[in-house]
């Protein structure tokens, strides 16, 4: 497991242990062990390595059946770490990879408003108009698919939606947290592709275990996905002190973004780099009203999220204690 100390990674390790697996958990050399509750468990081998260097990587992969690749950094680092990992997997004759990608790879402009975004939806063709994360994840998927095809290896690509957990259930897909007291909600009726971190971890381990997952791509989202309006109101009630929500209609912001694009073309000959919220492709990726589904995961692998949204929020905000 790479990125084992990350936000999702630490839950994936916990879930794999819960299911009785032996886990080789790769963390960066300076990661403090006290932050990892499973670090001293018997079935965990803690490996301190930085994937940006190939040193010792092959050795630690010897005898590993499946690698779950979660580690992510800046875009250049993400590319280099993935290359290093794939080379080392070849050398160690490790044949199965579960790559944790992201919803960021989709081209939201090519899905009609309120349309269904699923595993067959088109991928972003021009990542440079979006952001470094989108670019990194696309290149990462491309590298993994090349490796899978050329070397005849087993690859499963997982794309989690907006993963919530930790101490905060906020997601940028709702809008902007201006201050702790003022939130701006962009849109109202867009469904949020939420995935509670423990559900997401369970889905990842489930796919790593399942032979039927090999060669497939799955989106990971929970059931009962809320709209921005319902979710922001729910968060508002759970947050102390209670913030004020300023609603901003999605069409208005989209219109503003297009006006900014026109102004950029007219005044700056299109050379201007507008802020993300004024770039229509980035804005769409964040707040466009779409529908999402976990049907493929349910039907192919018989996966069900363990926690409902209310249970997930209860665990995040400790209202269930």
């Amino acid at each position: 497991m790479t990125g084992a100390s990350g936000f999702i990674g630490r839950h994936v390790v916990a879930e794999a242990l819960r299911r009785g697996h032996f886990v080789s958990a790769m963390v960066r050399p300076a990661t403090p062990i006290r932050e990892l509750p499973w670090a001293d468990q018997e079935r965990v081998t803690l490996v301190r390595l930085d994937l940006r260097s190939e040193r010792h990587l092959t050795e630690v992969l010897l005898g590993i059946e499946t690698v779950v690749h979660l580690a992510v950094a800046g875009w250049r680092e993400t590319v280099v770490t993935t290359e290093n990992l794939l080379r080392a997997m070849d050398a160690a004759k490790c044949t199965s990879l579960v790559l944790v990608s992201s919803f960021a790879v989709y081209d939201y402009d090519r899905v009609p408003p309120f349309g269904l975004l699923d595993e067959t939806s088109p991928l972003e063709r021009r990542p440079e108009r979006r952001d470094a994360y989108c670019h990194a994840k696309l290149v990462q998927e491309e590298l993994a698919r090349e490796w899978g095809t050329e070397r005849g290896r087993c690859l499963c690509v997982l794309r989690p939606g907006s993963v919530i957990g930790g101490n905060d259930a906020w997601t940028p897909r709702v809008g902007i947290q201006m201050t702790s007291k003022w939130w701006i909600r962009i849109g109202a009726w867009a469904r949020l592709p939420l995935s509670y971190v423990e559900n997401c971890a369970e889905a990842i381990v489930h796919c790593a275990e399942h032979r039927m997952a090999r060669g497939e791509t799955f989106n990971i989202v929970d059931d009962d996905l809320p709209t921005q309006r319902r979710y922001s109101r729910r968060l508002q009630k759970l947050t102390r002190p209670q913030p004020h929500i300023l609603p901003l209609p999605w069409p208005l912001l989209l219109l503003t973004a297009w006006l900014a694009v026109l102004a950029n073309r007219a005044l700056l000959r299109g050379r201007g780099r507008l802020p993300q919220l004024l770039r229509p492709p980035s804005l769409s990726a964040r707040c466009k009203p779409l529908r999402y589904t976990n049907r493929k995961l349910r039907e192919k692998l018989d996966w069900r999220p363990r926690f409902t949204l209310e249970e997930a929020l209860g665990r995040i905000y400790r209202t269930d204690e």
Binding site: R28, P29, A30, D50, R52, S53, R76, V79, V80, T82, E83, E128, V139, L143, N264, L268, R271, G272, R273, L274
Partner: protein
Amino acid sequence: MRDSKFSGAKALRVAVIGTGEISDEHLRFLAASPRARLEAVCDLSPALARLSARQYGAARAATDYRAMLEEARPDVVHVLTPPHSHATVVRHCLEAGCHVIVEKPIAPTHAEFQDLWTLARGKERWLIEDHNYRFNKPVQRMEQWVRTGRLGEIQEVDVRMALPIREASSRYADENLPHPSHRMPGGVVHEFITHLCYLALRFLPDRSIGDGVGFDRAHALWGNTAGGGLFKYDELDALVIRGGVHARLRLSCQTRPAVLQIVIRGTQGEAATDLYQPYLVLNAPRFGGGQLTPLINQWLSGWHLVFRSLRNFFDKLQRISPYEGLATFLDLTYASLATGGTPPVTFDDMDTTSRLIDLLVAQAGS
């Protein structure tokens, strides 16, 4: 060192080695310049080499620079690899008969720089270190004021760089895989002092006077104020003296905001700039005479700051960064390579800078 091969209008065949962050600045220039034709991009990472080649229209991507030099046969190579590798890569490029444009510092010591220069001369190739900030518009303007005597006789030069690179988010502070610059004799500070040195030396009295060394003496205090084992040093405070002119060079890895300030003080007035949040103010005699000059200077400076704040906003929108001088530097360099002229960063510039760095680094730990 003139080469008839480059005196025509033919575009030079160019290769880039290293695709780190700075490579985007070089590649953007090369993709747009009529004087250059990007032949190859090389990086240890095949994917990064391929992506850069695709994005900037290079004919090929490579992972082995020596094989690439053989196959692509470039006229010019940009060496953009980590600093500790410069000397080796530059040597191989020169041996392959290429002109070399290299990121700072060209080599860890002056002796190694001299070896490379001797090799370049033997091969009749140019070896050019990137002194990009010298070509930023405010610095060029300051040079003009100094040349025209607007500031009178120069007495003091202050160059201060603040880079908060000890913060946890900085790649230099990453303890997981220490940045290669930590291996330099002066640690991470060594990577940045080239900028301080060439900027200060630019405003010291003419190097053609006297011994030609460019400075009489230099004193440096190095410190590691935040401690820890990763950084050898995180502070430098140096004084460089040439005749009666004092240049103060300061670098801090902890203070905010990030700045690269240059202040020139002369017998008639002073000029100040910051290249990271660009502005340029001049306090010099004005048409109002002694009584009104301070008032006019303050008034003009205030207006300039208001104007610059707007201009900086639009510059940011247009992705005009503090690297704006790099495009000018490369443009002048390619013009000189094409016409057989002398590049804008000369042997003297690099030699004096390298000597000064050697002297400052020699005082580290003392």
